[in-house]
């Protein structure tokens, strides 16, 4: 359980990151703000609850985070600034790019992250290293067949150090996912591929924290956390709008 003080602290951080992301988007209207706003609490939980195991002296993370839904992950730069890992005036790309400090993968194209994560997991298995590999995907991204190739592979090889987090914001680009291809029942699908599954409110940091910790107790399976989120969380104009993926905001649109 996350104590109340820590929870409050992380909620404030999430508020700040959310606002920074919106401000960034106003100046960079091609950035996918609705997709980014559903990831905030997930990213804050991973970084600030130390699931990534930050080593302050060496200025690096022991565990991996692969940003497979790259178009929604630019908020990560505001988090990395908080960790003093990038300079204040560093130019932020709208899709995170590989760098020397943290990001290993190309993240603009969907469906790749979990497979690459499987390769890293195998490498760690060979070297007998107990490092965790978190992979953040979108729900629409689950339409890509390559993701299911990786899901089958990870389940068969019992890659227990893989933690897949699905930002399940229910909307892809043109419509609600349930109207395009209904992804449910997700739990049954993953369980049938030998994964351990949990589902939670993706904007509740305490729930995210608790469920990730529960998953990490499982010894012999890859893990998936289905994080139910709201696309465009925090901006009324975007929330529950099936076309929010492609919408840009102006200053007047922001209501907090």
């Amino acid at each position: 359980m996350l104590n109340q003080k820590k929870q409050k602290e992380l909620e404030e951080i999430s508020k700040k990151i959310r606002q920074q992301s919106i401000n960034f988007h106003i100046n960079n209207p091609e950035s996918r703000i609705a997709s980014a706003l559903s990831t905030i609490e997930i990213l804050v939980t991973l970084f600030f609850c130390d699931f990534l195991k930050f080593e302050k002296k060496r200025k690096m993370f022991q565990n991996e985070l692969i940003l497979s839904k790259g178009h929604g992950c630019f908020p990560i730069y505001f988090i990395l600034k908080d960790f003093n890992l990038i300079k204040e005036r560093t130019k932020i790309p709208i899709i995170p790019e590989p760098d020397k400090i943290f990001i290993k993968t190309i993240n603009g194209s969907l469906g790749h992250g979990l497979g690459v994560g499987c390769g890293i997991a195998i490498a760690n298995k060979i070297r007998k290293l107990n490092k965790l590999i978190f992979v953040l995907v979108g729900d629409g991204e689950l339409y890509e067949g390559s993701v299911w190739e990786a899901i089958m592979f990870a389940g068969h090889h019992q890659l227990k150090n893989i933690v897949l987090i699905i930002d399940n914001n229910k909307i892809c680009m043109l419509d609600y996912c349930k109207n395009v291809i209904d992804l449910e029942p997700l739990e049954k699908k993953f369980e049938s591929f030998n994964w351990c599954v949990k589902r939670t409110d993706g904007h509740n940091i305490s729930n995210l924290y608790e469920n990730i910790n529960i998953l990490l107790t499982i010894e012999d399976k890859p893990k998936v956390l289905i994080a139910d989120t709201i696309k465009g969380m925090g901006v009324k104009k975007l929330m529950n709008n099936p076309l929010s993926h492609i919408m840009s905001l102006k200053k007047d649109d922001i209501q907090r």
């Binding site: 194209s109 497979g115 390769g119 997991a121 195998i122 298995k125 060979i126 190739e149 592979f153």
Partner: protein, 314 residues
């Protein structure tokens, strides 16, 4: 009849021996086997991975391993390895290699018309143009086991993405001796001749040798063993010839061997170039290679006739 070893078995045997001494080498297949692979997959259970018939995941897993500083050998049938997983190859190998050092070696078996009787779904006429388009790749196109092995040895530790395009059939030895300089140059002048030079790669080098030796044509022959990066020293080697004939089991005018050579010679108006390959239509043929070549006019007699007619009509 002399037993002819297959190029993939030559390479895999070498990789096996390297794996005994170096635990940073891994081998991943898309469920494709070979006699030499049987020993590898038994003796190196931890570092041999069968990804199943899933080429996209095969490439992605390979990339994950290469990011962790493994030397990765990724093995599959040419057509499926290249085309099914092309975006993974572009995104996670070519593009990512601009940021990270990746020692990934794609061992693609069945280039050109190798899988002759399996038909057009198994033919790979596009691999040169597709991989040539991708930055940072080295493309190796050996014509016999000796060259295949020398290329692998020379570039083993080089941290760049590499594409080895191998014929699936055992091919006779061509090379007894080749200098390190020639390996670095990426081509070998197998025969010096007059007026006409045949420029070939892989299997087509054997076709060209038949033209020169069996049909006794006094033409030059240059075997391109590294298609990318292509050596500009080739320009000087071609210099003395007036007529250049490129031969390959791939599409012509679409970025293959012929386009690479034409690109080198683009500013030389004195050269006349003739290209032999496949025109803009898939050969709907599932015969033995010799018969496909006859149908496509890629066998020695047709090539000779066309070159001689071409010269007469200039």
């Amino acid at each position: 009849m002399t037993y002819m070893m297959n190029m993939r078995d030559t390479l895999i045997s070498y990789i096996y021996n390297k794996m005994k001494k170096n635990n940073k080498i891994v081998f991943i297949t898309a469920d494709l086997g070979s006699p030499a692979l049987d020993k590898l997959r038994t003796d190196f259970k931890e570092r041999f991975i069968n990804a199943g018939i899933a080429e996209q995941n095969l490439i992605n897993i390979s990339v994950g391993l290469a990011l962790e500083n493994f030397i990765v050998f990724t093995y599959g049938i040419s057509n499926f390895l290249v085309l099914r997983a092309y975006e993974q190859i572009k995104n996670n190998i070519s593009l990512l290699s601009h940021y990270k050092k990746l020692n990934i070696n794609l061992i693609a078996v069945g280039t050109g018309l190798s899988y002759d009787i399996s038909g057009p779904s198994h033919h790979c006429l596009e691999d040169i143009s597709l991989i040539n388009t991708l930055p940072n790749f080295h493309i190796f196109s050996p014509s016999d086991n000796n060259i295949a092995l020398l290329l692998l040895k020379k570039y083993f530790y080089k941290n760049v993405p590499k594409f080895f395009r191998l014929d699936s059939k055992p091919l006779p030895d061509i090379y007894n001796v080749i200098s390190d300089f020639e390996i670095i140059n990426g081509f070998k002048e197998l025969k010096e001749g007059k007026d006409v030079v045949l420029i070939t790669t892989g299997f087509s080098t054997h076709t060209a040798l038949k033209i020169i030796e069996k049909h006794k044509k006094n033409w030059g022959l240059i075997d391109i063993i590294r298609l990318k990066p292509i050596s500009i020293n080739l320009i000087e080697k071609i210099g003395k010839y007036k007529y250049i004939a490129t031969i390959d089991e791939s599409f012509i005018n679409k970025g293959g061997l012929d386009s690479i050579i034409k690109g080198l010679l683009i500013n030389d108006e004195t050269k006349k170039i003739l290209s032999f390959g496949v025109l803009d239509k898939y050969p709907l043929l599932s015969f033995k290679r010799e018969k496909i070549h006859q149908k496509l006019e890629l066998e020695p007699k047709s090539i000779i006739n066309k070159i001689e007619t071409f010269i007469r009509n200039i």
